[in-house]
């Protein structure tokens, strides 16, 4: 019975494209799934690790750029390019983690922001490799296991498969003894140290893992768009994903998924009418931080608990 909600949710997600009908909505659902993987990866840091990063776009962006560059310039196949992109991004996360974990709290936030901006600047200026402002285009979607995923629905199922695996593995990770020690390191770093845990190493491993899942989202992102530009590495992107985590509920499994759905849908609806998405993003950010600091999922859970125990 423990897995009943997960199975029900998976069944609902499998049925979703048939209920939505129109390709536009199916594509929107694919975007939500990619954003959800991205937000789950950041949640490992922000929620479970207590390390607020404002440079998480780095991993999505580098994963996406590496996939595109390896395919277009070196002629690697999708499997080789994807695997190499994941490896490169994970290595980079290892290096960035060593730098960022020199500080904690706000220092960590500022360093991740600055490190993220380096990559953004690089994507803009290093035109020979990244194509500069124009980005890299001309990538074709792969055919995993010989299945064509060019269409909206097949791609949705592909993204769903990756999402389901990511969600299950993240859930396992969080509930593992290591996940418990990570949360211990977040709440009581001194006690954890006194108990003999290597707090730095716990945080670094989590940082690298978050980078890896960010890269997974990046590979999906570049195959969804068949295109990558410096925007993927921008501070706006990092802020959007942080908003997803905080709005949905940090340190909950479903929070980032709910947050991703909220932000992606809101962005698409708003962008259809006006060009002022950034302005709205800012307003929502301020409002959430001021009035709903622990996010939607914990907020709703609290209301539900109060309703169940009503006199």
């Amino acid at each position: 019975m423990r897995y009943a909600p997960s199975i029900a949710a998976l069944a609902a997600l499998l049925a979703l494209p048939f209920a939505l009908g129109n390709d536009y909505y199916v594509n929107l659902a694919s975007q939500v799934l990619i954003a959800a993987i991205f937000a789950m990866s950041l949640n490992l840091l922000v929620g479970y690790g207590g390390m607020t990063s404002l440079g998480h776009a780095a991993y999505l962006g580098v994963g996406a750029y590496a996939t595109a560059w390896l395919t277009l310039r070196l002629g690697l196949g999708p499997l080789g390019a994807g695997a190499a992109a994941l490896a490169i991004t994970t290595l980079m996360a290892g290096f960035y983690g060593v730098l960022a974990l020199r500080a904690s709290g706000l220092g960590f936030l500022m360093i991740t922001l600055a490190l993220g901006q380096i990559l953004w600047g690089l994507a803009y200026r290093w035109v020979g490799v990244t194509g500069g402002d124009n980005g890299l285009s001309g990538l074709a979607r792969p055919a995993p296991l010989g299945i064509d995923i060019t269409g909206a629905r097949p791609f949705y199922f592909f993204a769903l498969a990756v999402f389901a695996v990511a969600f299950a593995l993240v859930a396992l990770f969080v509930r593992s003894p290591f996940g418990a020690s990570l949360q211990g390191a977040r709440d009581q770093p001194r006690r954890m140290r006194a108990l003999g845990y290597n707090v730095w190493m716990i945080r670094w491993i989590t940082f690298v893992l978050a980078g890896f899942w960010g890269a997974v989202a990046g590979v999906l992102y570049v195959y969804y768009n068949n295109f990558i530009s410096p925007h993927a590495l921008s501070l706006t992107q990092s802020a959007e994903v942080l908003l997803m985590v905080i709005a949905g509920g940090a340190a909950t499994l479903t929070g980032p998924v709910v947050g991703a759905a909220l932000v992606v849908v809101m962005k698409n609806v708003v962008s259809a009418y006006v060009e002022r998405w950034t302005l709205l993003l800012g307003v929502v950010f301020v409002l959430i931080v001021m009035f709903l600091p622990d996010g939607l999922v914990p907020g709703v859970q609290r209301l539900y608990a109060r309703w169940r125990t009503r006199p």
Binding site: T52, L54, L99, R102, A103, G105, L106, G107, L109, M110, I111, L113, A114, L115, Q117, I118, G121, L122, Y124, R125, W126, V127, G128, S234, L235, T236, A239, L242, I246, R276, T278, L279, L281, G282, V283, V284, F285, V286, V289, M290, P293
Partner: protein
């Protein structure tokens, strides 16, 4: 030879601009423990306000002061209305300033549209002067002078006045400062206004050199972060040194290795982080 002299002076001018920007950022961070992520946006908004005033025929220096005053008022409102509500929740405060940065950036794009616009410098500083066998724009020398004057004034304020002593006390130990009766809340507002004013003023002063364009905020904020990480939080001396170092690296990087200038810029930050995480002059660990 001319290349090195010109670029060195350019570096100092950029360093001066960076100091005006990051001194306020550093003071706010040191006292309130907030990384004010809307600082770049204040800089850009200041430049746009200055631009509008200049287009109405206002004198350059008057426009710069007025823009500084306008941004100071805005900063004061933000501190009172938003940040004070979140007192004690540092992370929430930082995220709120990020949200405000997005609001300002998009509002600027809305009002002033997307093209880069250079500000007209003051008539008294037009043209170039001979310096050590080469010619250099007078305005950039003026910027170096203005930055030096601001640095001196800030140093006097922080080191020689009663308010400065309160600020230093707050930077070193906020709880103790509160306990001995320093009006910390009023001090917060004052320092936030001061920092915002410097950012707005700096935007106008930078206008004739950098122009004003959407994205100026996102270009400047990381520079301020790097200066402060390098120099140390809450330290004016650190802000001076960090600004000059970054001014030189950015200018020479752009001249010699334009593709990688942005990356080279962050190298000193990486080195300092590895060797001395609290920054060269930092009194408090970040």
């Amino acid at each position: 030879m001319g290349f090195w002299i010109t670029q060195s002076l350019n570096s100092l001018a950029l360093g001066g601009l960076l100091f005006i920007l990051s001194a306020g950022f550093s003071l706010i961070f040191g006292l309130m423990r907030i990384a004010n992520l809307s600082h770049g946006a204040y800089f850009m908004l200041g430049a746009y306000v200055g631009l509008t005033l200049l287009q109405r025929g206002v004198n350059f220096w008057l426009a710069a002061l007025a823009a500084g005053a306008a941004i100071a008022i805005l900063g004061g409102l933000v501190e009172r209305i938003v940040l004070r509500q979140l007192a004690g929740r540092t992370l929430s405060q930082v995220l709120a300033t990020l949200g405000i940065a997005f609001i300002i950036a998009d509002a600027c794009l809305w009002i002033w549209s997307g093209d880069p616009i250079p500000l007209t410098g003051p008539a008294s500083l037009r043209g170039a002067v001979p310096v050590l066998g080469t010619h250099f724009p007078l305005y950039r020398l003026g910027v170096i002078g203005i930055a030096a004057v601001i640095a001196l004034a800030l140093w006097l304020l922080v080191e020689k006045t009663r308010i400065g002593a309160m600020i230093r006390a707050g930077v070193d130990d906020l709880d103790m400062a509160r306990a001995v009766g320093i009006p910390v809340k009023a001090l917060f507002t004052a320092v936030f206004c001061l920092g915002s004013a410097l950012a707005g003023l700096g935007g106008v002063i930078a206008g004739p050199i950098l122009s004003v364009y959407p994205g100026l905020d996102a270009d400047m904020l990381p520079l301020a972060l790097v200066v402060v990480i390098l120099g140390g939080v809450g330290s004016l001396g650190g802000a001076v040194l960090g600004s000059i170092v970054i001014g030189f690296i950015y200018t020479f990087g752009n001249a010699l290795l334009p593709d990688l200038a942005y990356v080279i810029l962050f190298l000193p930050m990486v080195i300092v982080l590895v060797a001395r995480p609290r920054g060269l002059f930092g009194r408090i660990a970040t």
